[in-house]
Each structure stands twice: as C-alpha cells, then as structure tokens.
C-alpha cells in the first residue's frame, strides 16, 4: 500500500448531544481519488473540517500526511476549498490575488512571491479556465466563476492532500469535465483527493471509490454499488 495520507480511527463528532459522525474509520493513500457523498446534514463538510483541523473530534483520532491536521507544517501541504465564497466584499479583490493567497503558507513568512510563483498562479488560473478573467474583481463574477477561483487557490500550491467541498457546484456543465480531469491529474501526480459531491456520477471516470456518509458512519463503495443502493432505492442527497 502507498504512503497513508488520511487516517481516521473511531472519529465521533457532534455540535450538540446527537453525534453527526459516529465512529468513522478511513485510510487513504497517496494518489487516491475519492468522492464523499451523503444526504444534506450527513456531515460531509464537517468531515472535511476535521481533516483540515478546523474542528476537533469528540473522540477518535484524525491524522493527515502522518501528523496532526493542526500542525502548521502539515497544513502547508493541504489544499482546502470550502463551499462558496467566504470573504467580505467590502474591498474589491482580483482573481489573481485570491489565487496568489493560496501560496502564502507554502512560501514562508517574510518571503515575497517570485516570478516562478506568479507563473504557478497563472497556471492554476488557466487550469480552471479563468485565464481571461484573472484581473477581474472576484465579486463581479458569477457564482461558478467564483467557485473556480476558489478551486484554483486550493490547487496553486500543488498540495499533497486536496480537500474540496462541492468543487463543481454552480459551475457550467460544459466546464466540469475539464476540472474533474485536472483533479485526476493531481491524483496521478501523487496527491490524495477528496471531493464532496451530491453527484458522484460526475467523477465516475476518474475516481476509484465513493465514500458515503449514512447515519454518521462511512461506507466505502464502488460506483455500481452506489447506483444500486441509492439510485434504485432513493438518492442520499
């Protein structure tokens, strides 16, 4: 088995008395591509936040890239794209600035971005199809374009673990296959990819398995099993 990049053991988490996640176990290796599915409120986003250390489990252990998800040295190798825009719109912000912000942690304090870094920013923007809009203000773009910019910010540092919360939501259907292929390239290069989605079919061509959250537990199933369980007996979303 390849190097383990995600290790969850007996993870329990709840905001109140009732747990959202109740004994989640998972191991993923380098280069694995997984889709995380489940009904609304099943804990998909919560699970991603546990993996990036924004939440801590009530019980059990979470390890990523061989260490704690709150370790800054570990976090620099994790790319995280939350769902939707999470920034104040008081001041204008260009697409380039948003994507360049993704390099700040890996570059290190007090070091300015150099020409090589700006090339990486340009490549990440082009990879999500926003090359013509790189100088535009993010808040003047459509929701789908904003989502692509957020995705580019997660990709720009070439992280070893990519955690993406509904990365294709709001994005034009015609553009989705190219984005999904880009994520597959990242996995082929050794990154572990977990993408939350309500529509695992989008990833059918590129991902090995589907992780489904049901009643606080994680099931690891194939696309065929997903179809059999949820499309024939009601989708989880």
């Amino acid at each position: 088995m390849s190097e383990l990049t995600v290790e969850l053991a007996g993870v329990r988490f709840g905001y109140g008395a009732a747990p959202i996640l109740d004994g989640v176990d998972l191991t993923l290796g380098a280069g694995e591509f997984s889709v995380l599915a489940g009904a609304n409120g099943s804990g998909k986003s919560t699970l991603l936040k546990l993996l990036v250390g924004l939440l801590r489990p009530n019980a059990g252990t979470v390890r990523v890239l061989g260490g704690s998800p709150t370790d800054p040295d570990i976090r620099r190798h994790v790319g995280y794209a939350p769902q939707g825009l999470r920034m104040a719109t008081s001041l204008p912000v260009s697409v380039t600035e948003v994507v360049a912000a993704g390099l700040a942690p890996s570059k290190g304090m007090l070091r300015r971005l150099d020409r090589k870094d700006w090339t990486r920013v340009t490549e990440a923007i082009e990879a999500v199809g926003l090359g013509d809009l790189s100088a535009e203000c993010l808040f003047e773009l459509s929701g789908g374009q904003q989502q692509r910019a957020i995705l580019a910010r997660a990709l720009v540092g070439h992280p070893r673990l990519l955690l993406l919360d509904e990365p294709t939501t709001g994005i034009d259907q015609r553009l989705r296959p190219a984005l999904v292929r880009e994520l597959r390239h990242r996995a082929d290069d050794g990154a572990t990819v977990i993408a939350v989605s309500h529509d695992p079919d989008e990833f059918h061509e590129v991902c090995e398995r589907i992780l489904v959250l049901v009643d606080g537990r994680l099931q690891r199933i194939t696309h065929e099993e997903f179809h059999h369980q949820f499309h024939e007996h009601g989708a989880p979303g």
């Binding site: 008081s90 260009s94 600035e97 912000a101 700040a104 003047e140």
Partner: protein, 276 residues
C-alpha cells in the same frame, strides 16, 4: 497665503502626510475584515491612557500608545474568543474609555482646553519631536505591512482557509491590532482620538469605489488619505480659526463623494462581464 509655508505648517504637513498614508494602509485590512470599530474602540481607550499619563507625569502620546496597545490586544483576544460579538460590547468599551479618561483627567486638574486637542487633534501646536515620533510610528506600520503583506492579505480574504492552510492567523490578527494601536497613537495629535478612525475607514471606502483589486484599492486609499489630510490642513490654515481635525475628515468625506460618483460613472461606461 504665506501662512501655508511657515514652520508649524510644514510640521503639520509632514505629520499629516505620515498619518494620511499609514491610516488607509492599515484601514484596508480592518475594513475588509469588518473590524473598523476596533480602531474607534482603541481610540476611546487611548483617551484613558492620556489621562493616566497626565496623572503620572508621562507625555500624552506614550500614555495613549501604551493603553491603545494593551486595549487593542485585549479587544482582539475577546474577539477571537467570541466574547465581543455585537455592537453593544464595543459601545461599552467606547464609553468606558471616555468616562475613565474624563474622571482621571478632572481628578488631576487636567481637564483643560488641551484635552480637546487630544480628542479632536492639535496638529498646529506639535513640535519637531512630535513630528519624528509620529513619523516613526507610521514608518513601523508601513514597514510591517510591507513585510507581512501576503500573509495579511490571505487572512483578510478568508480567515478560515488561511488558518486551514497553516498561516499563524492568531499572531497575524494580534499584529494587525498592534499596528492599529500605533496608528491611533500617531493620529492623536493630527485628527484626535475621536476622529482618527475616520482616516482608517473613509479613504478606504473611497479607494474601494475606484479599484478592481485589493492592491489598487489600497493605493487609491493611500492617495485619498494623503489628499484629505493635506487639503484639510490647507483649508484650516487659510481660514485661520477652524479645527484642522474636522477639515481633514470633511475633506476625506468629499474625496469619498467624488470617488463614489467617478466609480459609478466608470462602471456604467465599462460594465464588467459576469458570464457563467
């Protein structure tokens, strides 16, 4: 016209220019993060520091600086712990700072016309030592922003993602409020503790109307801050009796109004695409 070039006017231009540049610079990060009121609260707390300084025989600017620093860090700690939610908490801090300053000053016979200068500025009575102190404080603000620009921008854009990606968000937040405290102390003699927050916010609001990126908004904001302070000083010098702190802030409001009109017209002439 000759009064525009006499010694105290030159001193005022230099001190005003330093604050006019540094205030919008730090203000961009505060406004983007919806922390503008931290500047106001720090200014009010600094008034208590001035009073304590008078009571113990320390120059007002050092009393203001110390209290602003301690107060700003305490405010950030409360905010980070989620104990400073809502305007009521901040209003309590505003009035506590003012009331404490008033009580301490009056108890020590310091409630004179000079305390008005602390609250609303007294830039025409500053000395060269004051000018250098203000310039030093503003240089620290500018230097720190230049050094930590990419980290401060990353946190200003999205604090949660910045934290998830390994940036020391808590330390950067403390740095931001410390720089705000330095700026408040520097701005005390220029526009006063009650008006200094205006220079943190109004030029930034003007810059936001004219730009399409954070960096260009910051540059426009600095231009607006510099223009406002110098224009406000010239008006006060020419008129002769009105308070420069007030004219500076009114000039900033005028610059904002112009920027709003220009920005709206530019948006009509060059509508941006928002395709899917």
């Amino acid at each position: 016209m000759s009064r525009l070039f006499i010694d105290f006017a030159i001193q005022a231009y230099l001190a005003g220019a330093a604050v006019g540049i540094a205030a919008p610079l730090i203000g961009c990060f505060l406004v983007q993060r919806r922390l503008s009121l931290i500047g106001d609260a720090t200014g009010h707390l600094a008034f208590a520091g001035v009073a304590i300084g008078v009571a113990v025989g320390v120059a007002p600017i050092w009393g203001a600086l110390l209290t602003a620093l301690v107060g700003a860090v305490a405010l950030e700690w409360l905010r980070a712990k989620g104990r400073l939610a809502g305007d009521v908490s901040l209003a309590l801090i505003f009035y506590l700072g003012l009331a404490l300053g008033l009580v301490v000053l009056s108890a020590h016979g310091g409630l004179t016309a000079s305390s008005t200068g602390v609250l609303f500025g007294s830039i025409f009575t500053i000395t060269w030592l004051d000018v250098w102190t203000i310039a030093l404080l503003c240089a620290l603000v500018v230097g720190a922003v230049a050094l930590f620009y990419k980290e401060l921008v990353a946190v200003a854009l999205d604090e949660e993602t910045a934290r998830a990606s390994g940036l020391p968000v808590d330390s950067l937040n403390v740095l931001l409020v410390v720089l705000t405290a330095l700026l408040v102390a520097a701005g005390m003699r220029v526009v006063g503790l009650l008006l200094v927050a205006a220079l943190l916010v109004i030029p930034v609001a003007a810059g936001a109307r004219l730009a399409h990126s954070f960096r260009s908004a910051m540059l426009w904001a600095i231009a607006a801050g510099l223009t406002s302070t110098l224009a406000g000083l010239v008006v006060a010098l020419l008129q002769g009796t009105i308070a420069p702190g007030g004219t500076i802030v009114l000039a900033a409001a005028t610059v904002f109004a112009v920027a709003a009109v220009v920005g709206r017209r530019a948006a009509r002439r060059h509508p941006r695409s928002s395709a899917a």
